[in-house]
Symmetry: C2
Subunit: 270 residues, 2 copies
Amino acid sequence: MSVVASRLLCARDLVQASTCGDQPWSSQRQESDTLTAQDSEFTCLSEVDLFADLSSEEKDSLHERVPERRFRRGELVFSQEEPVSALFVLQEGRVRIFRVAEDGKAFTLAILEPGAVFGEMLLVGQQMYDNYAEALEDSVVCQLSVSDVEQHLLTDPRIAVRIARLLGGQAARLEERLTDLALRPLAARVAKTLLTRNEPTTARSLGARLGQRPAIRITHEQLAGLLGATREATSKVLSEFAAQGLIRQVRGRITLLDHQRLNAIARTTA
Amino acid sequence: MSVVASRLLCARDLVQASTCGDQPWSSQRQESDTLTAQDSEFTCLSEVDLFADLSSEEKDSLHERVPERRFRRGELVFSQEEPVSALFVLQEGRVRIFRVAEDGKAFTLAILEPGAVFGEMLLVGQQMYDNYAEALEDSVVCQLSVSDVEQHLLTDPRIAVRIARLLGGQAARLEERLTDLALRPLAARVAKTLLTRNEPTTARSLGARLGQRPAIRITHEQLAGLLGATREATSKVLSEFAAQGLIRQVRGRITLLDHQRLNAIARTTA
DNA sequence: TCAAGTCTGCAATCCAGGACACATACGTTC
DNA sequence: GAACGTATGTGTCCTGGATTGCAGACTTGA
């Protein structure tokens, strides 16, 4: 049992990544183009249901004190050397939360899309986390400082409930993944992950909301890290899926063709 | 990769279990005897830090409306047929939370000791859980009904924060287990689990607090279920540990002898 | 337009644990 | 104290994935 090697090194020395060149969301854009043009411009706080209960004045006032930070692909948003000191909202780009074992192997806890909140453990005082967060592409995050959090969030009962809900949902999903990892073969986990990844969970997958499911943007390696499997094994499963017409693959993105059968595979046990 | 078979059947038809005969906590008793004699008599609410912020009057008032329920060893506290409809506090006995896959294999999410709160997902509205809860021995639980919860807990900001903390801690532990399952060999997981099980986490492991660590009360099979491994594989690891003088085993209980080396093994990766 | 890095495919080999099949021992019961 | 159920010890065989090594296709930056 083990996992993708993606040594930390990879994550580190990628401080080049041109700011121009690649438009990370380019393809998504193509597909959801007809929608609102400003869907990559949201204010950190709107659209994030953690703050849904705040009036717009409150949001504005909070928003003013929220610095925005940019990370280039490969950069670490936080790590052990630079522990979580704020609550983050991913505004643009994609971020991977992961852990690294002593031997360098990594396991991915989550791959976040815009609208996601992370660093939430800060909220509940749990600090002992050796989690890392890496920008998978050039990203923009807003960070609420600890004091912001304490003043505006923990004191507000409406938000406290939202936080509880957030963490509850998280725990639920973790329980699910844990039992899947324990009880299901790789193929099932692959299928399941693809299916959930395909759902519009985050705040702004506008295109998706219209049934216009875009391709899932993920590489075999990223998927493997999320599954606790090797890239090779994951690739094999995906190839088989493709051969059976369940999915279509194009370098870095996967389109689901047969939800039905994928679902069946996801429920597989032995 | 897979797991203990303990078909659900086992959990069901155990409706005999003598009420007299065995005193579940008998051995613990022996070891913490010198302490307070009423440590198995706590009021559901005191000692449970979820309610720590309530005044004793509040606790009393709440306590009156809290029915106590007894379950015999093997009985299900909740299941899919009888979904979670309340928030439970384990007062006496031990309860196992688990899930069952389509093929009958089970994975144990937690084994709870007195003072533990469960059914917490109810708190955050998440309902889609196919979790089961089974009494591992004759047990007593208090149950707060949904309306109790809504009136007294969700509305109270102090408690909302406690809930968030509870769920946060849970998520943290799940993340840990998930990455361990993905990255560490069985032996490491066994060692780690033993070590954490040995810590006094729950509200009342009074004996333990004095460094007087009692034996861990768990069978190989239960441990295996918790680890996502087979009973056989788990047994083998434990035998090796015993042979190396790391632990001592007596039918149904395990005593740790060499925390040092166990810790080293727990950090093992390949 | 070329070189370097990234992503995916493929195959051979290895091995931790799973699946089974028993055997023994302990404890509970009557 | 006989008998059954539960807990543990072992052994064999078998397989899903891990490991390793490499090759071809795409992308991207300069």
